[in-house]
């Protein structure tokens, strides 16, 4: 692993991502380079299919670039094993999705406890931390409900709680307000803003220009490229 600039949490250099299916190549990302400093709130904007989610996926170590280099918190990620990537996802990254992606079989509390389970915490430790986090998002009264029993806004707040329960250094949010009405969307954005004020780095993909205003700066994307800084 190579030590890089301590100021930047994320450094991407000439990232290209090509998907191959039925001998047809699709270029999802092309020569993308960007830097995100610690504590920054970045919004990635662009039309559908421009590569926003692929970029987020590579940032979150869920995917690997075809070419180019990516370092996260001074760690060069190209040579990491699956186990090491999982460990970094668990300890340093929090994910929020448009479709909430809560596990339907688990209660809200169990969903929030899940990242801590992979961290090896005891049940008691997990419960205490998860309850505390759920209180932060005003879901302490819904802990034992299943996701299907909650409204969309409540589900997304639970998803935010799950993303931050492990105190990640960066939260990656993919259209976190996409499935919510404006009131619930505002509520979720307020939570993210609070996180940001408390020092967490946030990288959010959004369509909605209203919510781009929460960000320190916006990265516009089109056709797999960053078009303007």
């Amino acid at each position: 692993m190579v030590e890089l600039n301590q100021q930047n949490l994320i450094i991407m250099n000439k990232i290209t991502r090509i998907f191959e299916a039925n001998e047809v190549e699709t270029i999802a990302l092309s020569m993308v380079s960007l830097e995100i400093a610690k504590g920054e709130f970045v919004a990635i904007q662009g039309p559908s299919g421009c590569g926003k989610s692929t970029l987020l996926s590579i940032m979150g170590l869920l995917d690997q670039p075809t070419t180019g280099t990516y370092s996260l918190d001074s760690i060069e990620t190209a040579e990491l094993s699956g186990r090491q990537r999982a460990r970094i996802r668990n300890c340093k990254i929090g994910f929020i999705f448009q479709a909430f992606n809560l596990i339907g079989d688990l209660t809200i509390l169990e969903n929030v406890m899940l990242p801590l389970r992979y961290r090896g915490w005891t049940t008691k430790q997990r419960e205490e931390k998860a309850q505390h986090t759920l209180e932060k998002v005003d879901l302490e009264n819904r802990m034992n409900h299943f996701p299907a029993q909650l409204s969309g806004g409540q589900q997304q707040r639970a998803a935010v709680a799950r993303a931050i329960v492990g105190d990640p250094i960066i939260v990656l949010a993919d259209e976190p307000t996409g499935n919510l009405d404006s009131k619930n969307a505002e509520s979720v954005m307020e939570i993210l803003a609070d996180l940001h004020h408390n020092g967490t780095t946030i990288c959010m993909v959004t369509h909605d220009p209203r919510f781009s205003t929460y960000a320190n700066h916006t990265i516009p994307m089109f056709d797999g490229r960053i078009v303007d800084r």
């Binding site: 989610s53 692929t54 996926s57 979150g60 869920l62 995917d63 699956g82 186990r83 999982a86 460990r87 996802r89 668990n90 300890c91 994910f95 999705f97 479709a99 992606n101 809560l102 596990i103 339907g104 079989d105 899940l114 990242p115 992979y118 961290r119 299907a148 799950r162 492990g166 993919d174």
Partner: protein, 792 residues
């Protein structure tokens, strides 16, 4: 009606589009239907099929309760005379089963025969197909009635047969009638082909002790217990000496008598195979459910476009019925072509009065179970998916997190499948252990390199004991001259053979003349014990010199009963009602006479030369494989009597194997069904589990995003599958004893609740589940989380 046809068309179109899905479902159902139908055919033929006699439910069978004691040998004629006083039993017939040499036209052969009294055909309530019954019922009557099968096989359906002569055991008889085709009667081996007039006292079979069976027909509306009370009452009035044992008189329905022995294990096998069919149904239900989950959006679109619930249910039901119907039709073809093979494979102990056939009852049964199977398999998926949640499905929310646990139907189905398979495997396991213990029982002799053949010398040719004795001795001399023969001997009662009747006589100590011990009478020649490999415990074996003396050898059981803690050699015993006295010259080891599963009984051996029997088994011990001697043995016997029919030429190893045929049959059936069930369960489990894992791709993506390593995902998927199997197999082990109770009389040397067997089967189930889950779980751990989370 049009809705029904539309649904049928839609179901057919769907199945045509999914040939792999339809093929696997049809294969599972065909296997289940074929197995179930084949066993049902046996079950129906033996236990349910109407007997080929009019009003067969009025036919009764009378027997003594105590095994091996000859109920009617004291005075059968007197017993039969009572029928005149029996108001409720207007027809009563005595039957003496045996085997006769049939000569006259064509090759001489041995066929099943029965001597029957005058009322026999009235009890059967049948008339002749051609001709008439016996014209005269005297000791000297020379009329016979033959079966349709014999008429067809030996006389080529010649209608001029009536009045022609056939030779039965060397005596000429006139054919008086031919029975209708459907009238068959069970004999010693197979069905009876020749019916001779029976007047008690004249013994065509020349056997020393004869077991007369008594068959009757009660009046309409009369219960068997009332008929029995009347019989006991008549016996009491006549002051019969049999009265004291009248409590042991058993009245059974004829159906019960011929089928009772096989009822419990046939019921168990039918139950087991029904479970196999159930597993097939459950597999198809699981497949339909799994397909249904994938088709939820399609169904939602149909519902959005106006399809009501009835249409969606019909669509689901038709899919199941088409699958099962196709399986049923394939099943009928497969059963039709395999039924003859099944008949050949059936043990002789399973009596089917009529040959197994695919008749209308069997076809109806198969069609019914096919339709039933189709409806049963599809009703749950049809109901479940007939109410799609349009809002959720059209939004695509939740797709990708369907799991075994969320889809409770699938979970319960796999659980039920596991329970059933565990029960079947435990049943098979217990039977395998039982069978292996049984075939390893020491029979009391050494069967290796022993060849046997049954001889039935013609009674008219060898009219006195000397001639018969010389005949046997000549054969022994010829056999011993064959190179490779170590010992040769005769015996009238070969152990473990079904077609031998046994004679039991009272054996008395001199100082206890009123306390007889029942002993099995064995006639042998001098080298019998050496030929059979029966060990000597005390004294010595017979020699030719013993022929001049009244010497006897007894087995250990008789020795212990007669002379406990005393050396019996040199002691004198008396045998039978006439109290013939014999000197004991030796004690030999016990042999299992009537079955490996039955304990040895007291027995005694007397040299055959003193009073040779008209039926003997030749026993030959050779230096090498006895099968190689067969042709030389035939030549040697026919050099003495060229017309002597030879029957049952087989090795003692074969004899032992045949004696455990029923156990082998049950074990093989159980094993086959258990293996089929296990394979179907594994295949069903694999397909459903794989599908479930595919459905959970998004959940695994979420878990990976939250930090789960591939190994965590692997373990999580494995847990989903194995928990169901562990629970199911434990529940199966818990309820298995209920089914095994039915088999208790066919278990030997094994505890039906043997924890070792149960644990082994549970481990096999868990091992199978782990093996089955490994590949899908590995696939789950290799999911691309990015694709899973952002896939639409």
């Amino acid at each position: 009606m049009s809705i029904c046809l539309e649904a049928l068309n839609a179901a057919w179109t769907f199945l045509k589009r999914k040939p792999a899905f339809a093929g696997s479902a049809i294969l599972a159902l065909t296997i289940g239907i074929v197995c179930c139908s084949l066993v049902f055919n046996i079950f129906y033929s033996v236990l349910l099929k109407p007997l080929p006699f009019p009003d067969a439910d009025r036919m009764i069978y009378i027997q003594g309760a105590e095994e091996f004691l000859n109920l009617f040998s004291e005075n059968p004629a007197q017993f039969m005379e009572r029928r005149e006083y029996l108001h409720n039993i207007p027809y009563l017939a005595a039957i003496e089963n045996g085997i006769v040499n049939l000569g006259g036209e064509g090759e001489p052969e041995r066929v099943g025969a029965a001597r029957v009294t005058a009322d026999f055909f009235k009890v059967l309530q049948t008339t002749m197909f051609i001709g008439s019954t016996f014209q005269g019922m005297t000791s000297f009557s020379d009329d016979v009635v033959i079966s349709y099968a014999l008429w067809q096989h030996k006389f080529k359906l010649d209608r001029q047969i009536i009045g022609r002569t056939i030779r039965v055991n060397g005596t000429d008889y006139t054919i008086a009638g031919v029975l209708p085709r459907h009238i068959v009667f069970p004999g010693v081996v197979g069905n009876v082909d020749v019916y001779l007039p029976f007047v008690p006292g004249k013994d065509i079979f020349n056997s020393e002790a004869i077991y007369y069976e008594v068959l009757g027909r009660v009046r309409p509306g009369i219960d068997i217990t009332i008929a029995r009370q009347e019989m006991v009452s008549v016996m009491r009035q006549s002051g019969d000496q049999f009265l004291e044992s009248s409590k042991k008189l058993q009245f059974l329905s004829f159906r019960y008598q011929i089928s009772e022995a096989s009822r419990s294990y046939l019921t168990f096998i039918q139950l087991s195979v029904s479970f196999v069919l159930l597993i097939a149904c459950v597999n198809v239900t699981a497949l339909l459910l799994a397909r249904g989950i994938a088709r939820q959006r399609e169904l939602a679109i149909m519902a959005t476009l106006g399809a009501d619930r009835r249409r969606l249910i019909l669509l689901g039901l038709w899919e199941g019925i088409i699958l099962a119907g196709t399986g049923g039709l394939l099943g009928i073809i497969l059963v039709s072509v395999s039924i003859d093979k099944l008949s050949e494979w059936l043990p002789l102990q399973i009596h089917t009065l009529t040959p197994l056939s695919v008749d209308w009852v069997v076809v109806t049964f198969m069609l019914l179970i096919s339709v039933g199977t189709g409806v049963f398999s599809s009703v749950m998926p049809a109901l479940r998916f007939s109410r799609p949640d349009l809002n959720e499905l059209m939004k695509d929310a939740g797709i990708g997190t369907t799991s075994l646990t969320t889809s409770r139907g699938l979970k319960y189905i796999l659980f039920v499948e596991t329970v059933i398979t565990t029960v079947l495997l435990i049943g098979a396991g217990v039977m395998i252990f039982s069978y292996s213990r049984l075939i390893n029982v020491n029979p009391g002799f050494t069967p290796v390199n022993v060849l046997t053949v049954d001889l039935f010398p013609n009674a008219n040719q060898y009219t006195n004991k000397n001639e018969l004795s010389q005949f046997y001795q000549s054969i022994l001399d010829k056999i011993k001259a064959i190179p490779g023969v170590n010992y040769a001997s005769f015996s009238n009662h070969l152990p473990l053979t079904r077609h031998h009747t046994s004679s039991v006589f009272g054996v008395f100590r001199r100082d206890a003349p009123d306390s007889p011990i029942p002993g099995i009478y064995n006639q042998t020649s001098a080298e019998y014990f050496l030929a059979m490999g029966i060990s000597l415990r005390r004294g010595r074996f017979f020699t030719r010199q013993d022929e001049s003396y009244k010497h006897v050898i007894i087995n250990e059981s008789l020795s212990h009963r007669l002379f406990p803690n005393t050396d019996p050699v040199g002691k004198v015993i008396s045998i039978g009602a006439v109290r013939n006295e014999f000197d004991i010259i030796g004690v030999v080891g016990d042999t299992r006479q009537f079955g490996l599963e039955l304990p040895p009984r007291p027995a005694f051996y007397i040299l055959t030369s003193t009073n040779p029997s008209s039926f003997m088994s030749l026993v030959i011990r050779s230096k090498s494989a006895p099968k190689q001697l067969e042709s030389q043995v035939r030549e040697a016997i026919w050099s003495v009597d060229p017309e002597l029919p030879l029957r049952h030429m087989k090795t003692m190893t074969q004899v032992i194997s045949e004696s455990v045929e029923v156990w082998k049959f049950i074990t093989l059936m159980m094993l086959a069904f258990a293996i089929i069930a296990l394979i179907m369960t594994i295949i069903g489990f694999y397909s459903v589990f794989s599908y479930s894992v595919e459905c959970k791709f998004r959940e695994y993506g979420i878990r990976m995003a939250l930090g789960a390593t591939p190994f965590c995902i692997f373990l999580s998927a494995m847990r989903d599958g194995t928990v169901i199997v562990i629970t199911g197999s434990l529940v199966g082990a818990f309820i298995a004893p209920i089914g095994i109770k039915l088999l208790s009389s066919y278990l030997f040397g094994v505890n039906p609740f043997d924890l070792g067997i149960y644990a082994l089967i549970v481990l096999i189930m868990i091992g199978s589940a782990i093996t089955t889950c490994i590949v899908p779980s590995s696939r789950a751990s290799l999911f691309d989380p990015s694709a899973a989370l952002w896939r639409q």
